[in-house]
């Protein structure tokens, strides 16, 4: 499998992330093969593809949690913030939002004021952060995870289906929040999403993959009916917001 840019990729001297010829197998199952792409500073890259395409596995490989063949190279000194889709914690433990944030604050020697600031940035009240994380709504919990990531002062945010399981208004608010933060903090974004309309609206680049093929390039070039039909195995329709 080769990642074929539909357009010649612009030459950038120093990408934030350089992925070259990355392959991964779990036993007999090929997850991806010879995957290559580059992410420039300040880009908003959406990773799309059908269920089981290896999107989450790719993110876990990018953060170094899974070893792969090939090269994954982050620019020197880059700090990552990661919001996973699946968490390990049970909902019934008495861990509050503040307990969780405090762990990041201690690691970076930050004051309580820094915690209050990121809570304000993500629109989560201190009252909600003082509750156990199991009692937060889906949207509040995702905001807490984003706040945790921001507290580490990241250069790059990796968000794995941030809006999954959240009502439509909540999804719009979260998308606005993330892209507002990207602008205000100059972040590079890597986002796994199922919502192609949102991808089309916000992304500078799209990585569209299944287990056999991957395409990387600007949304207008990658999110074509031909590519989507090939990757998803069936025609995919989505609404494009033009601005």
């Amino acid at each position: 499998m080769t990642t074929r840019p539909p357009f010649p990729a612009p030459v950038t001297p120093q990408p934030v992330l350089d992925v070259q010829h990355v392959s991964l197998r779990f036993g007999n199952t090929q997850i991806f093969e010879d995957l290559s792409f580059q992410v420039t500073r300040g880009a908003s890259v959406a990773v799309v593809g059908p269920n089981g395409a290896g999107k989450t596995v790719l993110f876990r490989a990018l953060i170094g949690a899974i070893p792969v063949e090939g090269t994954i190279r982050w620019a020197p000194g880059i700090r990552l913030g990661y919001v996973p889709q699946k968490l390990d914690i049970a909902r019934d433990v008495p861990i509050t939002g503040f307990d969780f944030l405090h762990a990041q604050a201690v690691a970076h020697r930050l004051s309580d004021a820094a915690m209050a600031e990121v809570l304000d940035d993500v629109g989560l009240s201190p009252r909600a952060a003082a509750d156990s994380i199991g009692s937060l709504s889906g949207g509040q919990f995702q905001r807490l995870l984003v706040a945790f990531a921001l507290l580490g002062n990241p250069d790059v945010l990796l968000l794995d289906e941030l809006t999954a399981g959240i009502d439509e208004i909540g999804q719009v608010q979260l998308n606005e929040l993330v892209h507002g933060l990207q602008k205000s903090r100059g972040l590079t974004l890597l986002i796994i999403s199922h919502d192609l309309s949102v991808v089309h609206r916000y992304s500078t680049d799209v990585l569209c993959l299944n287990r056999r093929r991957a395409y990387f390039g600007p949304p207008r070039a990658v999110l074509t009916s031909d590519v989507l039909t090939e990757i998803y195995g069936a025609p995919v329709a989505f609404h494009v917001h033009d601005h």
Binding site: P84, I95, T96, D99
Partner: protein
Amino acid sequence: MTIEALVLPVAMAIAAGLVGCFAVMRRMALAADALSHVALPGIGVALALHVHPVFGATAMLLFGGLIVWSLEDRSRLATETIIGVIFSAALAVGSMLTGGDELIEALLGGASGTPSLTEIGFGLLTATIVVVFVLRRRHALVVALVSRDIASTMGIDIRRLELLYMEMFALTVALGLRYLGVLLMGSLIIIPAATAKRLSRNLNEMLMIATLLAVAVTLAGTGLASWLNKPSGPLIVILAATLFFLGLFRKERRAP
């Protein structure tokens, strides 16, 4: 009962309360309980070699901690089955190696006589290591509890943290063998923390409540045992379990 005789059980209970909070939140109550059984063959071998039993038990427990840690990445069912088999076998082998009164004492606690200076020194050192570890690493343990992947992006070495935690757990079991024995020490780690989990609103409350409960039931159980002339282990666990059920009742009443 002298103050000196109370120092060691209090130190043991503080370590048990703190370590237990993360064991309960990580849902490893079964592994925790089974791990304590591995101390028995260590005690048997130590007695045969005329070494203090606590050293044989500690060595075997540290080895048991390594086994649980190395199995943790496997699927849950496989892990529970393997842990169940290994540690039951350890209990069986240990029962063959240890005999008579020593076996009952090793199983249920309540060792006769006052602890030697070596035992007190070793116990206090071990308890200090465990308490310092949990308090210093509690933030990293919380992140690992929420998401191992997030912890990785923060540069936390998860596997190392988990190994250290398992060995702290093993050391805590070793600390309590004199008072609760290999069958019941796991319970003093799990039950006060499980009670605290239901009564707490945040991590610090949970750590504090679990520690206070563990100390309270240990002191009360040890006192009752010497008054009734019974082994201390069963009394400590009965008291801990009673408080757990009272905690359940309180939580149910508070629910809307």
